[in-house]
Structure formats: structure tokens, C-alpha cells
């Protein structure tokens, strides 16, 4: 997703008392100043606590000293379960060990401060909540201090706070003992946040708060939800996207022990059973005749040819400057290349699932979702309910990577349809095969570039054509992501590339074909293909100019200090230019995405066509790092995710059907493939960026640039697979 919208992030702050006692801090953002996606219900602007959902707050202090932090975002591995509480603990002067964390329900109060919908994505949580969560902590502290001052009959200024206590001289009162009194006080109009020099928690490597339960098996993911009466459902879906059920025979399925019902739903035929095993056997026993629909001829090879034809013509302009033709005619040399990247599945470890219980005027949903906002609306629409009648319980996500943030709410809508048709509470569970074949992929892309260089080897004319499906088309984000037919996420990393912007004559254009394949953002969205293309092209230019890859980039990026900082730190740590063990070669790539700047340097050997990545050195400038250890973990994660895709993963189509089915043929990273990883953080006071995604884009080109250094062969399509064999 693109960077933040230009909207006000000023918040109104208010404190309200819970009927059970204790102190609750809620924020609402004034509607008039707030960006909202069309159709998203707005927060209640009323100051009355009774009109807010319960629990409505970001922070709650109970009389027993329990401090509860409500997460407006979903924990999917990125450690936000720890980062947001760190912000509150810092300002509130409490120890993290006193904090309990909960996922917030779906409610207008938790709408993303920039994206206009309740969502976890775009590597945006920390920067978008940095003020709001610190303010929640600071405001609460101010109220507790006032309450303590009143109780002790001293001036508020004389009170200090430490580890959950207000302290005056030799007297100390716990926050729990002050909570009720604090809740009755008038809310201050402003609060003062701590100066960075006074931070004790922010910026310090901090252990994950969700670690213990994820180590002892007690953490509850969507898949683990259970209550009396909950049945398991599996849905047989069309083998071709866009197909539908012609006829089906459920007689054999119904004979399987444990199968309770077979019902037709919009997406196919659902088998409802006592458990997964019975549901799966029941589904295997279904006899279904499908109308395969218009996509029955879909074929990856044919699609690449089609894209190639499109790329031969100019698409809709996405960036333009100078006089391309004139500059091209004066260029001393031309570099021309085509790059192709496949469809990719997210394949999170936890297969998709969603539990639904429908009653007369309400619906409860338990699932791991990144996008409560659209899920709630979709469920409400199916059931004819108001959004607020749909409760969403967010559980831990067994990985998201974008798949669990679907504007079409596919897996939630389907579960609601199944529960509605069956008339009982159900948990729909996807098998791994369902997940691999079930769609919403990173779209396939083809890029074609023709670059004219001057006598020094620097680009003077850059013609670039991209071909690929739009992710935003048909979603609530369409209106502000697609301008004049160009989806900004299709060309992000190209149209705004410093290399292209720095080339005086350029034209970036885009073709947006429709193929019938459902597509979605996949970790780092457009950057997942554009960085591979751009950083490979620049490497081609450096080679054509007979220049060192690092030096050449330094020259092109001389006016981009944050790129340079990440380049220089990684180069220093990787000892760029110094000898490597025999047969090992380096490749480098740098890319900006989601407001952060990352360099990856790969050390690679190629032996009899087999590529081995030995070491990855990563440097990032993301501005302030709230938790340096979780930042490092996200870089390690991006390297693994990016390497798997670079080396092995692809989704292909034949006769309209996905050819892969499980981890034996949709190959991902495994332990033996994992190189040594080193992560370095640029000490930076620049604007905060994200960390969940920006590590990934430069991974693949760093590896393929190293392969070029090793073999002289330029890898121009992914995955690398056995191209060197």
C-alpha cells in the first residue's frame, strides 16, 4: 500500500469511567478531519461513554492493578503485541510485565489513523500509532497523578511515577488504588510526552510479550477456537476461478460417519461435520459437476506471451519527463531487457479458517484477520444486519503476509454463508491444498525497459513498460489508489524510483490486463516485483558501464542520503570489495518502500547449476526503531520470505487450474536453505517508516546480482529454480 494520506492525525482525547470501576482511556478522531473509506461506518462523535462499544478503550486500569492494552491492530508475527504496549508503558511508567494485551474488537474507534478502515497492513502500525498510544499512556498518567495529588493533599508537580505507583516523599499509591478516583477527574486538554532522552523502554531491545504462550502451546489461533455446538465445515470450490456448481450428488458424503449436512453456498458445496477428518472425507466423497466458466482456458505460458505483446506497446503513463526520443537518439549505448515474475501464494502456516455463530439479531465471528473493517461489513451485508451487530473476535494470526487482509473478505464471507445455510455455528477450515489453489495471489508481472546511457554510462533516457493485474481495482481503495487508470501499487518502486526520477528523459507506462485470477497484496505489494526489476536493471547498467555495482549506485543516489546510509552501512559490514572465500560472490541491492530504506548484500556460490546463499547482510534506515530486536526479526523474516520466492516459489496455470497444491510443489524456504543473516540498523532520527515489508524487496535482486557476478548469467525471471542447470 502506498504511503500515508495527507490527513490530520490530531486526536481528541477523553477519559470515561467504566461501570465496573477503573479507568478507561478512549480516543476518537473528529469525523470532519478524518479520512474514511466509502461505506465504512464512522466513529460515534458523542462524548457519552455509553454510546461507545465495550470495551472501547486503548488502555484500561483496573482496581486490582491490572493494566490492559487494547490492540487496534492484529498480531501476526510482527510483534505489535509488544511494540504498542511499549509505547504505553513508556509514558505510563509501568513495567511491561504488568501489562495484559488484548486484540480490540471491530469498532470505529480502532480505524487506522491513515488508511480509513480497521486494518493491519502496509507496514504502518508503529508509525501510525506512535502518537496515539503514547498519548494514551501520558494522559492516563496525568489523571493518576492528579488523583494522587488530591488524595495526598500535595501539588501534582511534586509527584513522581514509577513502576505503577504515584510517589510523593515516602508515600506511594498504586495505580489500581487511584483508578476509580482518576476516572472521575476532568480530562486535561493537553498532555506532555516524554523527551526521547528520557525514554527507558522505547528504543530498547524488548522480549516479545506473546512469547511464553506461543512456546508452550497455549496461544489460541483462529484454528484453535472451540465451543460446544461448533461444527467443522469444508467447502468444495470450483477448480477454475469464476466457475460454479452445475449439479452435485452428496449421497456418498452423507454416509461418512460424522458428516451432518451438505449445503450449497455461493462459493461451492459445504460439508458440515463433527470434526475436520469427517468433513474432509465427506468432501472427498462429493460428486460435483462444475460450470467452469470463462477462465477454463487460462494458461501461464500463453499469459506471458500475451503480456509480452502488450509490453511492445505503450501503456497508460505513470511517470513522464523530458524528450525520450531525442535523448534516446543521442545515447551512446542502449540496455534493453525484459523481466518476468510469477503469481505467488502467501501460504501462511495457519491455513485460512473462520468460525461463525449467528443468532437472531447478531453474528459473532472468531478468526485471524488483518482487516476487521471489511470483514464486519461483508458479514453484516450477507445477514441483513447492521455492522455493529457483527462482533469480531480477533485471534492470533498464524501468519498473514497480506492474505488475511482481503477487501473482498473472501474467507469470512464464505464462513458466514456456510453458517447461514447450515443453521448451526461452523468453523470453515481450508486445507493446505485449498490455500494454495484458492486464489488471491501476488499478480504475475512483466516489465520491459529500454535505457539509453551517455558516454559515462549514466542513464539519460529510460523507457519502462509494466504489465500486470491491478490489486486495487474493485476494492474500497480504488478511488484513491487508481488515478487515470494507473494503479499506484502496480508501478510503486518504478514510477517513483530515484533512478528513473534522476533520468532526465523517462516514460513509465502501465498495462492492466484482466485475467480472472484473484489477486491481492503479498508482502511488500508492488515492490515485491519492482525492486527485482529496478535493482537488476541498475546492475545491468553498472556492468555495461564497467563500474563497480556499489560505486555506480552511490553515484546515481548521491542526492538520496537515506539510500546512501543504508548502502554504506551494509557495504561496510559486508566488507564490500574485500576478498571472499573461493567460489563465493557478492550481489547488492537497495530499495525504499513503506518509508524505509533497506540494502541487502548476498554472498552466493553456484555449483553445477545449484545456487547456495551463504550469508545475507542487511542494513535498514527506518527512522526511530521502537524495538530494535523485533525490527531485526522482521528483517530476518523478510530475507527468508524473499529468498523462498526468489529461489523456488511460483503459482502456474494450465487448463484454467492451478498446477501446485501443497508444500511439495509450492516450494518455500526451509532450514537447510537459510543463510547466515546479519542485520544492522542505521542510527536515524529521520521520519519513521515500516519494517514488516521493506526488508523483502531487495532480497531477490541481491541474490541474482551475485549470481551474475558468479556466472555472468543475468537472471531475468523468477523463481531462479533450475535456470542455471
Amino acid at each position: 500500500m502506498n504511503s500515508p494520506l495527507n490527513i490530520s492525525r490530531r486526536t481528541f482525547i477523553k477519559a470515561t469511567a467504566l461501570t465496573v470501576g477503573g479507568l478507561v482511556i478512549a480516543f476518537s478522531i473528529p469525523n470532519a478531519k478524518r479520512f474514511m473509506l466509502p461505506g465504512i461506518p464512522e466513529a460515534n462523535a458523542s462524548e457519552e461513554a455509553s454510546k461507545l462499544p465495550t470495551p472501547n478503550a486503548f488502555l484500561r486500569i483496573d482496581t486490582d492493578n491490572t493494566i490492559t492494552v487494547m490492540l487496534a491492530h492484529s498480531e501476526m508475527g510482527q510483534s505489535i503485541w509488544t511494540t504498542l504496549p511499549m509505547l504505553i508503558a513508556e509514558e505510563l511508567d509501568v513495567s511491561l510485565s504488568n501489562i495484559k494485551v488484548m486484540h480490540a474488537p471491530a469498532a470505529p474507534e480502532y480505524i487506522h489513523t491513515a488508511y480509513g478502515i480497521q486494518i493491519t497492513g502496509g507496514s504502518s502500525t508503529t508509525w501510525s500509532e506512535f502518537d496515539r498510544y503514547r498519548q494514551a499512556g501520558a494522559l492516563t498518567r496525568a489523571l493518576l497523578v492528579s488523583a494522587a495529588a488530591k488524595k495526598l493533599g500535595v501539588a501534582a508537580e511534586s509527584i513522581k511515577t514509577e513502576n505503577g505507583f504515584a510517589i510523593s516523599g515516602d508515600k506511594k499509591i498504586s495505580y489500581g488504588d487511584l483508578a476509580e478516583a482518576a476516572a472521575k477527574l476532568e480530562t486535561p486538554k493537553t498532555v506532555t510526552l516524554k523527551q526521547p532522552k528520557d525514554w527507558k523502554i522505547i528504543g530498547k531491545a524488548t522480549k516479545r510479550l506473546d512469547g511464553p504462550e506461543k512456546i508452550n502451546g497455549t496461544a489460541i489461533f483462529g484454528q484453535d477456537v472451540h465451543f460446544d455446538g461448533l461444527m467443522t465445515a469444508m467447502v468444495a470450490r470450483s477448480p477454475v476461478f469464476g466457475g460454479s456448481v452445475k449439479t452435485f450428488d452428496a449421497s456418498a458424503a452423507k454416509k461418512i460417519k460424522g458428516v451432518q449436512q451438505v449445503v450449497q453456498v455461493p462459493s461451492g458445496v459445504a460439508v458440515i461435520a463433527d470434526n475436520y477428518w469427517a468433513a474432509k472425507q465427506g468432501r472427498d466423497a462429493l460428486k460435483i459437476e462444475w460450470n467452469l466458466g470463462p477462465n477454463a482456458g487460462l494458461d501461464s505460458k500463453a499469459l506471458v506471451s500475451e503480456y509480452r505483446k502488450m509490453a511492445a506497446t505503450q501503456g497508460l503513463p505513470a511517470a513522464k519527463a523530458g524528450d525520450l526520443k531525442l535523448a534516446a537518439s543521442k545515447a551512446t549505448k542502449t540496455v534493453e531487457a525484459e523481466y518476468v515474475l510469477p503469481y505467488l501464494a502467501h501460504s501462511p502456516m495457519e491455513p485460512l479458517n473462520c468460525s461463525v455463530k449467528i443468532s437472531k439479531d447478531a453474528c459473532e465471528i472468531w478468526t485471524g484477520t488483518q482487516m476487521q473493517g471489511t470483514d464486519q461489513l461483508a458479514a453484516a451485508k450477507i445477514l441483513g444486519l447492521k455492522p455493529e451487530q457483527v462482533t469480531i473476535h480477533t485471534l492470533f494470526l498464524g501468519g498473514g503476509f497480506g492474505r488475511r487482509a482481503n477487501p473482498a473478505a473472501d474467507f469470512v464471507s464464505e464462513a458466514v454463508q456456510v453458517a447461514k445455510a447450515a443453521g448451526v455455528p461452523v468453523k470453515t477450515v481450508w486445507s493446505r491444498e485449498d490455500d494454495v489453489k484458492g486464489g488471491y495471489y501476488r499478480p504475475m508481472y512483466l516489465h520491459k525497459a529500454k535505457i539509453g546511457v551517455d558516454a559515462k554510462g549514466l542513464p539519460v533516457a529510460w523507457e519502462h513498460t509494466a504489465v500486470g493485474q491491478s490489486i486495487m481495482l474493485g476494492t474500497p481503495f480504488e478511488a484513491y489508489q487508481i488515478k487515470d487508470g494507473v494503479d499506484a501499487t502496480s508501478v510503486e518502486g518504478v514510477a517513483d524510483s530515484p533512478y528513473i526520477k534522476g533520468t532526465p528523459n523517462h516514460l513509465v507506462s502501465l498495462h492492466t490486463p484482466k485475467t480472472g485470477v484473484p489477486v491481492l497484496w503479498w508482502r511488500s505489494v508492488g515492490h515485491s516485483h519492482s525492486a527485482f526489476v529496478m535493482e537488476s536493471l541498475v546492475d545491468e547498467l553498472a556492468h555495461a558501464a564497467k563500474r563497480d555495482s556499489l560505486e555506480y549506485r552511490r553515484e546515481l543516489l548521491k542526492d538520496h542520503p537515506r539510500h546512501l546510509a543504508a548502502l554504506n552501512l551494509a557495504a561496510e559490514k559486508a566488507s564490500w570489495g574485500k576478498p571472499l572465500p573461493k567460489g563465493v560472490f557478492r550481489g547488492i541491492a537497495v530499495h525504499e518502500s513503506f518509508g524505509s530504506f533497506v540494502t541487502q548484500i548476498a554472498e552466493v556460490s553456484v555449483n553445477k547449476g545449484e545456487v547456495k546463499v551463504h550469508r545475507m547482510v542487511c542494513a535498514i534506515d527506518c527512522g526511530l526503531s521502537v524495538n530494535p530486536d523485533s525490527l531485526k526479526a522482521q528483517m530476518e523474516s523478510s530475507i527468508s520470505f524473499g529468498l523462498g520466492a526468489a529461489m523456488q516459489s511460483e503459482i502456474t496455470f494450465k487448463d484454467g487450474m492451478v498446477e501446485q497444491s501443497n508444500f511439495h510443489d509450492y516450494k518455500v524456504m526451509r532450514m537447510a536453505d537459510m543463510p547466515k543473516v546479519e542485520v544492522y540498523i542505521v542510527q536515524s532520527t529521520e521520519k519513521m517508516g515500516g519494517v514488516g515489508e521493506p526488508g523483502l524487496p531487495p532480497v531477490a535482486p541481491a541474490v541474482t546480482n551475485a549470481i551474475f557476478a558468479a556466472t555472468g548469467k543475468r537472471i531475468r525471471s523468477l523463481p531462479i529454480g533450475n535456470q542455471l542447470a
Partner: protein
């Protein structure tokens, strides 16, 4: 009805003979620490111990466990090696989304029970059947070495 010994207790289960141990644990006994990831022994999320050996419970029918001992993640805190592995996982802060980690810990515990000082190659060989999409592999490797050192 079938009798299975799970975490030291004999339990009577109403489960068909071909039901994989995974679904008996998850859907019949409601021990949900053991995870479903692939259903065909490709990812290791469902790893449990059968008489101390790491097995893929998603492809092992309940009948294969009759007369044997099934041990799951929920029991690891009572196992000396399991305790050390869990402590190392915490010290290194391995987990991210966490979904695969029960299986990773069960595989690592089986490895360290049979091989007290595994090399990186031993770890690669023993752990490559366990996929982690979050890419916690470098930390898993570090945590296994850490646990081995603590147990030595």
C-alpha cells in the same frame, strides 16, 4: 472406542481407526497446541512424539499409537530436554506468528534427546521438515545450540 496414552494419561476416544492422531488430539481431546499445516507430512507443524520419536501426526492414524505413548507440546514443560528447549526459545526470542513453533519445539526436543551436541548440519537435517513462513530459522538454530549448551 480406542485407548490412547496422551501425555502420560490413558484416554478413551471415540475416533475412527483411520483418523490421524492430529485430529484426535485437536478435535476429539481438544489439545490444540499441536497444529495443522499441510495434512501430508510436508511442514512439520503437527509434530508430536510417539514413544519419544518425532512423528507427523497429520498422516499417522490413531491405530499406530495404540500401546504407545503420545507426547505433545502441552507436556514439554515436564520433560527435561523440552524445558531446556523452551527456555532457549525464550532466551533467543525465537517466535513470530508462532503457529509452527509447537512443531519446531517437538522436533528440536527429539533431536537433542538423541544428539546432545548437534552441528549446524545435524540441525539442518533434523529440522528441514519443519517449515516456518516467518523465517525464524536463524533463531531456531541459535536456540538449539543454546539448549544443547545448557543441557551439557
Amino acid at each position: 472406542m480406542i485407548t490412547l496414552n496422551i501425555n502420560g494419561k490413558d484416554l478413551q476416544l471415540d475416533a475412527p481407526e483411520d483418523m490421524p492422531i492430529l485430529w484426535a488430539l485437536r478435535d476429539v481431546v481438544h489439545l490444540t497446541g499441536t497444529k495443522f499445516g499441510c495434512g501430508m507430512a510436508q511442514c512439520g507443524a503437527c509434530t508430536v512424539h510417539l514413544d519419544g520419536q518425532a512423528i507427523r501426526s497429520c498422516v499417522t492414524p490413531v491405530t499406530a499409537a495404540v500401546g504407545k505413548k503420545i507426547t505433545t507440546i502441552e507436556h514439554m514443560q515436564n520433560d527435561k530436554v523440552g524445558q531446556a528447549v523452551q527456555a532457549a526459545w525464550s532466551a533467543v526470542d525465537v517466535v513470530q506468528c508462532g503457529y509452527c513453533q509447537s512443531g519446531q519445539i517437538m522436533a528440536a526436543t527429539a533431536l537433542l534427546t538423541s544428539n546432545k551436541k548437534p552441528t549446524d548440519d545435524d540441525i539442518d537435517a533434523a529440522m528441514s521438515g519443519n517449515i516456518c513462513r516467518c523465517g525464524t530459522y536463524p533463531r531456531i538454530r541459535a536456540a538449539i545450540h543454546e539448549a544443547a549448551n545448557k543441557l551439557a
